[in-house]
């Protein structure tokens, strides 16, 4: 839901919720062992549901 909120906030952001059992090749591609797993721009990987400030600390890497 945090991903959707971010998409709401910026026209630059698309948020995709992906049901991994239906798309197992993506599960393999992104090493999804547990859910939720968040992948931002192919480079940032976050395991589990994280609170907003923690997600934003990762997100900051995109701004540099």
């Amino acid at each position: 839901m945090l991903a959707y909120q971010l998409a709401m906030e910026s026209d630059q952001i698309q948020a995709h919720m992906v049901e991994v059992i239906e798309f197992p090749y993506l599960g393999n591609k992104y090493d999804v062992m547990g859910v939720p797993r968040t992948v931002i721009d192919e480079t940032i990987h976050i395991e589990g549901a994280v609170p907003e400030p923690m997600l934003m600390r990762e997100f900051e890497k995109l701004l540099n």
């Binding site: 959707y4 919720m17 934003m56």
Partner: protein
């Protein structure tokens, strides 16, 4: 046969009472409907029937390739949840179980048009100068 029983339909109707502005689901399937394509389409149609603010447009991933591409849809079943504008909210796979709740929440989000994020986060996000794709992988449980 309906996917949602009377009790759930009532709950969803209740949850959608505050939806005041139109929300469009652009659902993508394909001619030979994939596993869960039919169920996803039917599920969304059943939800949409519960509020006069909701409507569904059904597209074919192959036939409507240009529309799919413009929305960033590259696999099915898929849907874009669109409010006053396209906020970039997509769902791939059937939104069942816990994700059914996410579907309902996404309707409320795009209808409200407010992210509900903190001022700090909004400030950071505003600095983005290039497109970003966030993928959240989930399972139906």
């Amino acid at each position: 046969m309906a996917l949602l029983n009377a009790e759930i339909r009532k709950d969803v109707q209740q949850a959608l009472v505050d939806v005041k502005t139109p929300v469009i689901f652009k659902v993508f399937t394909q001619e030979l409907e994939c596993q869960y394509c039919k169920e996803t389409r039917e599920l969304v149609q059943e939800v949409a029937a519960l509020s006069d603010k909701l409507s569904v447009e059904v597209y074919d991933l192959v036939r409507d390739q240009a529309i799919a591409e413009s929305l960033g849809v590259d696999k099915v079943p898929a849907m874009a949840v669109i409010g006053q504008k396209d906020y970039g909210i997509r769902m791939f796979g059937i939104p069942s179980g816990y994700e059914f709740g996410s579907l309902i929440e996404s309707i409320k989000l795009v209808s409200d048009g407010e992210s509900g994020l903190s001022a700090e986060t909004r400030k950071q996000v505003a600095k983005l100068t290039k497109p970003v794709k966030i993928q959240v992988f989930i399972t139906p449980t």
